[in-house]
Symmetry: C3
Subunit: 662 residues, 3 copies
């Protein structure tokens, strides 16, 4: 199925809930949207009780009217399937649709995603409403794409789920003997004699069981998602895409598996409390871009503030514009605010919106208007362009889950550790992909595998080939400890990668106190964690060594480098302080011969998007609140102001520039 993954336009808009308002109000909303420069809205994703007010009785008129009215103002529609909000009549008829929580209680009606993702009755009802939507709206030319459900997140522990889990395990393991063996169930007499003895794990359990439960949840959502795609796809034009709006680093399921059947990725970006940290949020954009390895939609983002954090401050004036351009620089092809207008009732009365409860614009509306004007100026330029990276960070949900369950040091967090490698790259404006640890690595110069705990034979082979062919590989802490069943490998770390690294791990240490460490031309500390490396090869070089500390680590190798094939492998046994980490990453950038997109002062981000014709568009964002002077390597044309600059460009606080070589 070929869909238009790089749509020919840029989109800006918001979520909109016409069902919450009398139809006579819509025109005023649409006029204000037009004035705001909108060209898209998302509709319908919580409207089940309005679309299907009773079982099998559908009312699409209002949606037809809304889509038509919007289209009349040049505004396209993204249609949401409403399955995240099973209505009261459905739950009333089939209470078993409600998920069962970890305490064994049915969740209540009245919030979102209260469904058991494996419920037969829920599947039946979801199929019916999606089928009806597909039939009615599939041909509608104003709909550019579909969003399935909304932010999948619920776990269920009902008896039906447990039975389904047993079926899942049967198909994965074939025999109980195999399962018992893979999970070492003789430990603590966990041996299973029958599939139905296996619990849905609540709290700490056998690591093998815990990992398979995550796999099962992923498969449950895949199946539920597929059920919707199967109804929709045959009714849609080939240019109409299907997506789901994911939640950043949400760990509920394997996002790579979940995005396989989707046409494009999209996600919902909320800063929450505080302010934009672009070196942090960059990982989330790049993660989303990595799902399908193409540009993505920002399906929701905050117009100033959210309402679900303990402290819901508004971002500063100007910051919303910097956020939008930051997203675009990282591959967003659309920016939709959540939400357009404050509903009178419901749980999100305090959430940011562009139009307040009185129907008047909030101050932030003017800023969004400016963003629309920006985008209008460069739509043609940006169309079809995308970020291109020479560096990849490998991401693995299985490794992440395994580590989070067994952190060993409370401050060891998989995602923080990955970000610890991302931040020094971002500080240098090095474009980076975040991709699945199972993805192909062609085209990269440098691959970093942060905490790649689980190393399968295929992963080992891929990495070996990458290095043999000249790639630079950096391995870090906890690498190669486990197999895909979350069992320890019968090997010292980094397992099968030890040959590539020319070194292995003699023992690992959760640290009570930081350990001094000395590198080639720097010194610092390792905190949280340290691994004692042992060279396996005379050619392996020691890049850094530990100083006097707990006795075990004193004078032992901490970081090594090893040439293998045409490439090089760095094994990092330390969790460096920030300054040392920047030194280490600068070394990797230099060694692998990576070109940053631009040198900028601190707080200024620069990212390239490359057009299909090879033209480079440089997006420069001043994330500080003070004017910054950015030296230019060549003369440029700045598209938002229409000005040329020779040696330097000056950007006021939160100011943005879109440059091409003059």
């Amino acid at each position: 199925m070929a869909v238009n993954s790089n749509p020919s336009r840029f989109y800006i808009g918001s979520a909109y809930y016409p069902e919450q308002w009398p139809e006579e109000n819509w025109q005023k909303d649409i006029a204000l949207m037009r004035e705001a420069g909108f060209n898209v809205v998302r509709l319908g994703e919580f409207a089940w009780s309005t679309i299907e007010p009773e079982a099998g009785k559908f009312d699409f008129d209002w949606l037809d009217h809304a889509i038509a009215a919007l289209a009349g103002a040049g505004i396209s529609t993204v249609m949401g399937t409403p399955t995240a909000a099973p209505p009261a009549w459905l739950v009333h008829q089939h209470p078993e649709i409600l998920a069962v929580d970890e305490n064994g209680r049915r969740v209540q009606l009245g919030n979102r995603c209260h469904y058991c993702v494996n419920s037969t009755e829920f599947h039946r009802a979801a199929r019916r409403v999606v089928k009806a939507l597909a039939e009615h709206f599939g041909p509608n030319p104003h709909i550019v794409g579909w969003q399935l459900d909304n932010e999948y997140n619920r776990y269920c522990y009902c008896d039906n789920c447990r039975k389904q889990f047993h079926e899942f395990l049967k198909s994965r393991y074939g025999s109980l003997e195999n399962l018992n063996n893979r999970w070492t169930t003789r430990y603590w007499s966990q041996t299973y004699n029958a599939w139905e003895q296996i619990p849905l794990p609540i709290g700490p359990h056998n690591p093998g069981l815990m990992l398979e439960f995550k796999h099962f949840v992923t498969e449950s959502y895949r199946r539920f998602q597929h059920l919707q795609i199967a109804e929709l796809r045959p009714k849609l034009a080939s240019t109409v895409w299907i997506t789901h709006n994911f939640m950043e680093w949400h760990d509920g399921y394997d996002h790579y598996r979940m995005t396989e059947e989707l046409d494009i990725a999209s996600w919902d970006w909320y800063v929450g409390t505080g302010h934009l940290d672009y070196q942090l949020s960059g990982t989330a954009h790049d993660l989303a871009r990595g799902y399908k390895r193409r540009n993505f939609w920002l399906m929701e983002t905050q117009p100033g503030n959210v309402d679900w954090k303990p402290l819901n401050n508004k971002v500063n004036k100007g910051e919303t514009r910097a956020m939008a351009w930051h997203a675009i620089a990282h591959g967003a092809d659309a920016v939709l605010y959540w939400q357009w207008r404050s509903a009178y009732g419901g749980q999100e009365q305090y959430h940011g919106s562009l139009i307040d409860q009185s129907g008047q614009v909030r101050p932030i509306y003017r800023e969004v208007q400016q963003i629309s004007r920006d985008i209008a100026k460069v739509t043609d330029l940006l169309s079809g362009s995308k970020p291109v990276a020479e560096v990849a960070l490998l991401n693995c949900y299985d490794s992440r889950w395994s580590i989070q369950w067994q952190r060993h040091h409370q401050d060891f967090d998989y995602v923080s550790h990955l970000r610890h490698y991302y931040r020094p790259l971002a500080a240098r404006n090095v474009s980076t992909d975040i991709i699945s640890a199972d993805a192909a690595l062609d085209g990269y110069k440098l691959v970093i595998a942060p905490a790649l705990l689980i190393v399968t034979p295929q992963r080992a082979a891929n990495l070996k080939a990458f290095v043999e062919n000249g790639g630079h590989l950096a391995l870090t802490l906890r690498t190669g400890m486990k197999d895909e069943y979350n069992a320890l490998l019968p090997l010292r770390q980094p397992g099968a990668l030890a040959e590539l690294a020319g070194a292995e791990v003699e023992d690992y240490y959760a640290l009570f106190d930081p350990v001094p460490i000395t590198g080639e031309d720097w010194s610092g500390v390792s905190r949280i964690w340290a691994e004692r490396l042992k060279l396996r090869d005379d050619a392996t070089r020691i890049i850094a060594a530990y100083g006097a500390s707990n006795g075990w680590l004193d004078d032992q190798p901490a970081i090594t480098a090893h040439t293998y094939g045409k490439g090089q492998v760095t094994l990092v046994g330390a969790y460096l302080d920030d300054n040392s980490q920047q030194r280490l990453l600068d070394r990797l950038i230099r060694t692998a011969n990576i070109q940053p997109d631009l040198d900028t002062p601190p707080g200024v981000e620069a990212r390239k998007r490359i057009r299909s014709n090879g033209q480079e568009i440089l997006i420069v964002i001043n994330h500080t609140r003070t004017e910054q002077h950015i030296p230019l390597p060549w003369p440029v044309y700045e598209h938002l102001s229409g000005q040329r600059f020779e040696k330097e460009i000056r950007l006021a606080g939160y100011e943005v520039a879109v440059l091409t070589r003059a």
Copy 2:
């Protein structure tokens, strides 16, 4: 029903549990009570299993004896109905009497208030025991009043409560259509097609549903309370009052609704950890005085310490006396300590008492003795006197609940915000009433409506009339956002009050960092929250403006003043630091021409009680531990010492003076 709301005497005493001791011990207790100067005890409020050892079989002899023995020593009785402690036989026979908690579990027998307030069987049993008590003790001349139950506080989530909730909603909304509309249930497909679909909300839910559940709980307790009053009142002499002992700022139900049917208000005052902060505890006394807008009883207070806090220190020597006088100064007509004597068993073995487990007096007994002697000296003087205020703070449970559920900033607390307005008044010895936001406002010069989120048409009309007639009104943050269904009003804040204020709120900001603010002759910061004001009228004056901060607030109006009719309205968009807040309140005091009761050094409180003949009694309390010199505007007679003072009175640490003009 006319009851003696201003009893002709002052009362001092304690709770007493003769049922826990052999009758032969009582005389020793009563002799010590007499020596302590007691003239009242509270009896019976947990004695159900002693009064009715099995269903329908009553034993009143012991209570007859106890009341008579106390009366013989000149000690009156307050009789408690024992319904807060349903006995084991009752719960055993009807397990459905036990309340169901938020986790769906029946609470256990063995503590207090384990009942479902809506249980039919519990109602039947409560009616029976109260009826029997009323018949037997109603005519007893030694009983001055009755306390119903004890500190209502339990919530129940049983199926019967849920059904009752549906009935409650039916009678309140008439139709589901109306309810769906008021709650905006199309949001998240919450539309209800049948009453029985509506859950009892546990955790976050639709704000409309959450507020109605609070209303339902209030009505449930009202009904339960009424059931007892209906049995009691016909059997009581007209001078015998009925009350319930409430818990300060407890938020379980609307205390204004709950006190409507009671004759007098009473409450239980515990400092808990630390020491008396009279500018804080004053709000609680004034709150209790505001329930019935008359003097109240302090039904329980701590003799030194409690036992239910993480740290249960004793207050300092002398502090208990200062506490008693502080309560009297704020309108207490009785002070009862909890409890008289430490029981051998039960959950409160470590609670403060006057007599220890060995039957000997604790050191604090002597201090209580002194308080009794104090009171004896001024009983005639104080009888029938009461505090009178020119300032009112409006209090609204609906607004409070709504804000607490949706704080938006974790540090925004409704009661703290109200206290933020009370404290500067207390520092100036300005007598203040705390009254329902629906109360009549006649007689006040200044009305402050802290965070009056919910503004009904009637409230708006009352406030308008108040201002038109010359009143000064201060509106603060979050005012006029919502209607009585907890839905946003289709208006900018402060809603219908914007005309009075001559200003409106363009947007509100939960603050990550404090925002500088400059007033007429002061400068400070706004923290937690800020509202950006917009003038609606040329005559509106800017009293304070924001400085450079998040861009949105820079140079915007923060506080405005507006003349309306004969009055004036101040709209406060900032949450000021303490110094600035004192400046603001000083301005309001000055502008509204309020006379403080006395100018005193920091830490010294002065409060007037006014006799029916207009005579002013000035109670002055040194809440510090060091001697304080208080200048006097006129010569006084000090009633505790029997001395006259001309220009100044000196009070040792924790010392008290009761003054009239000489």
Copy 3:
């Protein structure tokens, strides 16, 4: 039954789980064990599903092979009964075996100790497997002892437990009238009319009920333990002992009751996070030695690190050796590491081990090897020796539970308070027993009873006799408040001990601020708690008095001393700062004429073990990381190095010396 409580050898080894590995791997493990100097392993304690793969079908072959192979290498076996891990088939067949937690939910299969200790079906199955083990392995000459179950810890709240609790109460109280009286159930109408009305207490309840529930749990485990002993003992040789591995200060049951039927005590020592604090861990060793008042086994200890803490650091190089010798110095006759080798799967993949998942030794293996070599050198010397103390600290589970439930001050912790008395003794190398408050006191010079809340007539009589006969007794805070039913005594503190103390407590104070205190030649503060003492006797001396503070304590006695019979009683009303506490304990040591084992620099521990022939062995351990010089009172022979020292011995960081007089 006479068992060899002082085995003729020292043991060193580990837990080993051959069932987790193919039999062909064992020889490599055993060879490494031999090389490590092991002479014991513990087997079988979680192997139920391997031993009895289905109901009644036993497989002992593998265990026979393992025991024989180990014996072939000179390694004895401790056999564990596997009841801590009821297998899936058993739980599947009888789900009621699963315990019910405080939330009313059955615990899940998949972890440990998931059984209801009172389950009839579980008793049946446990008896069957233990009987089979006893019959098969009872005669095995390579088994030196048996461990029952593993770390008893589960609480159950099922209906069967509740019924059993009622039976327990019936037999303890005889009548409900007695129970109601003992518990003061008229308080809050708790009166019980039928046994079945009594709940299993969850959360705060009547103190009497709470204490009896602890007694019931203790009796439940005793019964379960007895069931196993009854099967085992008749099948074992008289030299083969039975034990259970307890967990330090675990408060789940009364350890004195639990150890009555065991032959020797053993416990599992884990430092967890951070490093060894020998003045703290000493209490745990001495506690274990006090169970049976004889030497104990260290059944488990960490080889470097654990995996169940938020931060699982490895102890320093050398620290493991200091730990082993610290345990031996306090009476350990065996040291077993947990565990030998990292299992591929199961919950403890990150736990410290000697052999890693690859089958290679970890660095710590070499250190354990050295410990084995140490022990080999002094086995003959140490055999049959034991620590002997002149000081006893009394420990009482009932007092501890009662205080922990009603701390009154959040920082008052029973065990911390006991350690507060232990630490100054440990700092002076004063050998101290920690024994039951009901134990005989013959032979002690000084007895300290920290927070002995519950004083029964027999305890009072024992202490009186001890003092009359010349003993020095120190009483501390909260002493003598309650009886054995957790009811207040009708006496001032310290109850029946007031006569001995020549003083009583007028009132007690949880402290908000520390209170100054002045002693004979020191001054400091009391924090957390203070008791106001009142002299009852002219001969009572004031050792320390409070300074100005809360008014109640100002200038009141804080610590008193009183001569009684031939002895002396010190009553301590203060919770002193650490320096003052050292001064107080130094005074007690001096007054009671106690001889420290050796004077050492800070951080160096010295402890004697006495041989049956009276010879003193002095174990000296440098717990610091730097060299220490220890002056010697007499010339010594050092057994590990084979050297003689005259005036001084120098120990490097973590170095150990085993000395006898030369």
